[in-house]
């Protein structure tokens, strides 16, 4: 029993299925009579759709249906509204929100925007007809850069939204920050870009829609992170049907990272196609389409300013950002460059004053929505880069400057100037442990060894503090079978994080039953009444606590049954190690006996019915938690070519209670890999004039590969528990993206400090590094 307890590194239950090719992803599913849909996407960044001549394509072999914007308008389908947590401009008026339909109605506003859907008997027939579809476009000027989009004279994306302006935003104490800047000994300022990236999940987006004319019910099997919220959009906003008529399932989903959070247009299109054709309709994005049409992330241009005293004490932090979000608000596009990046400004440092402001622009690019961290990695990078830059330009030791300004435990709990409720954490201790782990004693020798080879070596440490997010409520249901099986249903959802292991682990440990007996069900609107899906590192924090709550409700019921069976007072019953025990008589009864009794009327107390242990419960978070930690990197830089290699990496993370260290390690490693990608390799590039995507394949978009990654040493700090939730967890999913980019970038700057290099924008490609060295000389 112990080996499946909380805190044990159980190997993933789902691994065998995934690693042996037995997973069920969308493209593995086939239905009788299934037909195939292909999305026709705009080849232009901005163009009027003058006419679509569908007749000849319709006449091609096997073609069943062609859907255009005209059809969509005629059907009267609704638009998909933004769910951004920030909905107002600074002046209190609502943000500017263009109507977002499932496909372009009369104007296409980015390369890859759906313009039509072609459905045919076979995929090849659909591809042929899509290619033959005659669309007359009238090309318009495009703007992809958010700064240019906001400038006077820029091409206008929407007639009724002047200046491509979505919203402006501010948070913090503007005047107090201004005063601190005015009276500080030093002020440093730096323009910092968070490069635009995309998630590239292993499984591209795809879905199958079916329609039953008798019941008028739809079934949507979809590679999504969020069945409940997206059902609400597809059913309520688009199709105008009651939610119950749309059964939304996410089978195994091969990665999401935020890019599968939102309600995209394509599933809505095939739902309609399924009804029109009377056939199940499958649509699978190709990889190239994925680059064009998946939501992107980051893409923020900021000016970051730090005010500090001559002894190095931080006085204030001020960040002003411009973010481009594509031509729509999408699902939560406006939030990331506003509230998302604002909240965790300043990281774990003691800032008396902070102020964040931003402007959000519409651009002729793919939409922006959350990408692993959604604003927190941006904030962490901005904070750590400006601190590092201040240390370099003012002559402070970068490690010492950080250490002296960290919030100390005696300052907690506190609300940061950004309104973040920091209840727990020991930032200096986590910092010191990271330093200790990273073998500073051996550093000089490693620098010398690198120098032997003509290589520069650098080190940087990056403490971070972030927060969880996503839906605040979660459902957990537990059903007991007479055969001893236990089914656990939860509304949060895994796209590869291992919920099938960690969630049953919590239930099994709490109930004292065998882990292998638990069957896990997720990603199904009929399995749970509500569900928050995946996002914001919320699963253990919200879903895990729902499981714990369900388990505790079950053991409470179990106590009543045990008391009845043992002829005891309920108050005298203790539950521990899988058994109910009368503390007075010493008599005990095993959980399994209680479960068995729960099916038999004769063995139950009067008020209880057979099956009474089945439990469904909703847990609601009150306040988001504060995952934090400290990452450190050692890099080698080849000054001749500019190539960077991350040589060593250390992480000490405070995720609160660790449920499964093996899965936590996976989260850290994956996050660090994506952070390394952003720091060194990845960047979505659009052509400035044409708005064409230049990084439209894996030949041009550089994802990190296994051999780009260093060996990582990972440890956890569990000595600053949070009381914000019963499980004591803080969230683990996005931390790597917060810690890795500043650790890696600042380590490169450290390596090149002797050359006089002070700043290089991400990604630190070899040519950029080489040029920085050359221009610093």
């Amino acid at each position: 029993m112990e080996k499946f307890g909380i805190g044990q590194g159980i190997r993933r239950h789902e691994d065998f299925r995934f690693l042996s090719g037995k997973g069920t992803y969308i493209d593995d599913i086939t239905h009788d009579g299934m037909v195939h849909a292909v999305v026709v996407r705009s080849p232009h960044a901005h163009a009027k759709i003058v006419a679509i001549e569908a007749q000849s394509a319709m006449a091609m072999p096997g073609v069943l249906l062609i859907v255009t914007g005209e059809d969509w308008t005629r059907e009267g389908f609704g638009t998909m509204p933004t769910k951004s947590a920030v909905q107002k401009k600074i002046d209190g008026t609502p943000l500017n929100q263009p109507p977002r339909h499932a496909l372009a109605i009369d104007t296409a506003r980015y390369v890859g925007e759906p313009v039509a859907l072609v459905v045919a008997e076979t995929e090849m027939q659909a591809v042929d007809a899509a290619e033959a579809l005659d669309i007359d476009y009238d090309e318009l000027d495009a703007v992809v850069d958010p700064v240019k989009a906001l400038a006077p004279g820029a091409p206008q994306l929407w007639d009724d939204i002047p200046g491509n302006f979505c919203l402006d935003f501010e948070l913090g104490d503007k005047d107090g920050t201004q005063a601190a800047f005015a009276s500080a000994d030093h002020v440093v300022s730096l323009a910092i870009e968070n490069n635009r990236v995309t998630a590239v999940p292993l499984e591209t987006r795809g879905a199958i829609a079916s329609y039953d004319p008798e019941t008028e019910n739809y079934l949507l099997e979809n590679a999504t992170q969020n069945v409940h919220a997206n059902r609400a959009t597809f059913a309520g906003d688009v199709l105008n049907i009651p939610e119950e008529q749309l059964h939304h399932i996410a089978p195994d989903v091969g990665g999401g990272f935020g890019a599968k959070n939102s309600a995209y247009g394509e599933p809505a299109l095939i739902l309609y196609a399924a009804k029109r054709t009377g056939r199940p309709v499958k649509w699978i994005n190709q990889r190239g389409e994925s680059f064009l049409s998946d939501t992107h992330g980051r893409g923020q241009l900021s000016t970051v300013e730090l005010a500090l005293d001559k002894d190095g004490t931080f006085r204030a932090l001020r960040t002003s950002t411009i973010g481009g979000i594509g031509c729509y608000c999408w699902t939560v596009g406006p939030f990331t460059p506003s509230g998302g990046a604002a909240r965790t400004q300043g990281g774990p440092y003691n800032f008396p004053a902070m102020y964040y402001s931003s402007k959000v622009a519409f651009t002729n690019t793919a939409p922006m929505d959350p990408y692993r961290g959604a604003g927190r990695p941006e904030a962490s990078f901005q904070t750590e880069r400006i601190i590092d830059y201040a240390a370099r330009t003012l002559g402070f030791d970068p490690v010492e400057l950080r250490r002296r300004n960290l919030m100390t435990p005696d300052m907690l709990p506190r609300k940061t100037p950004m309104g973040l409720d920091v209840d727990s954490g020991n930032f200096p201790e986590v910092f010191d442990r990271t330093l200790a782990m990273s073998d500073r004693a051996g550093y000089r020798a490693r620098v010398a060894a690198s120098a032997e080879k003509g290589i520069r070596r650098g080190f940087a440490i990056a403490p971070y503090m972030e927060c969880t997010g996503g839906g605040p409520k979660e459902f957990a249901g537990v059903d007991f079978g007479r055969d001893g099986t236990v089914t656990l249903r939860v509304g949060s959802q895994s796209t590869g994080m291992g919920h099938e292991t960690s969630m049953p682990q919590i239930l099994a440990a709490e109930l004292g039953i065998d882990f292998d007996r638990v069957t896990y069900v997720q990603g199904d609107t009929e399995a749970t009444p509500i569900g928050g899906g995946h996002g914001g590192s919320r699963n253990l924090e919200v879903g895990g606590n729902a499981v714990l709550q369900a388990a505790r409700e079950i053991t409470a019921k179990g106590k009543r049954i045990a008391a009845h069976l043992l002829n005891s007072n309920e108050d005298d019953i203790d539950f521990a190690d899988g058994a109910f025990k009368d503390v007075k008589t010493g008599q005990s009864i095993a959980m399994d006996d209680v479960i068995e009794a729960s099916f038999e009327t004769g063995r139950l107390p009067e008020a209880m019915d057979p099956g009474c242990l089945d439990t469904g419960t909703v847990y609601e978070r009150e306040i988001i938690t504060i995952p934090n930690g400290c990452h450190a990197a050692e890099v080698e830089v080849d000054p001749e070519t500019g190539a960077v290699r991350v040589e060593r990496f250390w992480a000490v993370d405070d995720f609160g209670k660790i449920i499964n260290p093996l899965l936590a390690d996976g989260q850290v490693m994956g996050g660090v890999a994506q952070g390394l990608g952003q720091a060194l390799l990845e960047e979505i590039v659009y052509d400035e004039d044409s708005g064409q995507l230049l990084t439209g394949s894996l030949m041009d978009y550089a994802l990190p590969r296994a051999d780009d990654l260093p060996e990582m040493k990972i440890a956890y700090f569990e000595d600053a528990p949070t009381a914000k939730n019963p499980l004591g967890v803080k969230g683990a999913g996005e931390a790597g993206c917060c810690g890795a980019p500043p650790a890696i970038v600042n380590a490169v700057i450290d390596a090149l400090a002797p050359d006089g290099v002070r700043h290089i924008e991400m990604p630190l490609t070899p040519e950029k590094v080489w040029r920085a060295i050359a221009s610093a000389r």
Binding site: V127, E131, E640, T641, T695, D700, Y701, A702, L703, R771
Partner: protein
């Protein structure tokens, strides 16, 4: 992909007959370029003639100062060959650095040089080692084989059968890989051969090319320092989102010196 007829002949004669009788045929070697191009519908051959079953195109031999590699030999086989490793270690190392394991196990030397991608690695070895390309029609010297971007001296119906590499006194290949594709952003093959010093550059220009100034300098003094001050002008080089022409010009210098150093 568009529809096409698929053939898998077992001899060169059979392949030639199919080719002659087809409308717009294409030969398929490892398919590392052809298949992605077809999947994206950028090519519409009427017939695909898969060469994988033709015994005459396989085999690898080394001896008498010569390594001969059948056109359909995958990169991994060259990289893993003890004979190649012994005769021309730089060639084995180059093959072992192409793409990734999947590419190295599917991609072939014949396919690579017939395609003549400006960023491919093999053309640098063929040109740098002064190899001979044997075809169904003739023998072509390396210097005459690569003509322009994705262009070679091959006729449409002409197939590479094997490539023979004379073993050099010493040689090395230094590559700076594109982090996304792992093709060469720039790659320099330096060889000291019986007929003189050869320096071949791939990845940087429209097509693999030799750098005479470097060859002459190294002929006088085979040391990295001999290359100081010799640069390939940026205006002759490629520029894309991964690397400017100026950076490529710089890389050629760095890689050439490293290759000389690596030859030991």
């Amino acid at each position: 992909m568009y529809e096409f007829q698929y053939h898998r002949p077992e001899s060169l004669d059979e392949a030639a007959k199919i080719f002659a009788g087809a409308d717009d045929p294409k030969f398929l070697a490892g398919g590392m370029t052809m298949i992605p191009v077809m999947k994206q519908r950028l090519a519409m051959p009427s017939d695909i003639i898969d060469l994988s079953r033709i015994g005459e195109l396989t085999g690898l031999s080394a001896g008498a100062g010569m390594v001969t590699i059948g056109a359909m030999t995958p990169h991994a086989e060259v990289a893993g060959s003890k004979e190649v490793e012994k005769a021309i270690p730089a060639l084995a190392a180059l093959a072992g650095g192409i793409g990734d394991p999947a590419v190295r196990n599917r991609g072939t030397i014949g396919g690579s040089i017939a395609n003549n991608d400006p960023s491919a690695d093999y053309p640098a070895a063929v040109l740098g080692l002064n190899a001979t390309v044997h075809t169904t029609a003739r023998d072509i010297a390396a210097d005459a084989f690569f003509t322009d971007m994705f262009e070679t001296a091959l006729e449409d119906d002409e197939l590479i059968t094997r490539v023979s590499f004379p073993a050099p006194e010493k040689a090395a290949y230094a590559k700076f890989a594109n982090p996304a594709s792992r093709y060469a952003t720039a790659g320099v093959f330096v060889a000291k051969t019986a007929t003189g010093i050869r320096v071949a550059v791939t990845g940087a220009g429209a097509c693999v090319f030799r750098v005479e100034a470097m060859e002459q300098a190294l002929s006088k003094d085979f040391s990295p320092g001999a290359l100081d001050g010799i640069a390939v002008p940026a205006d002759e080089l490629n520029a894309d989102i991964h690397a400017s022409a100026e950076y490529r010009s710089h890389l050629i210098g760095v890689l050439a010196r490293r290759a000389v150093l690596q030859t030991g």
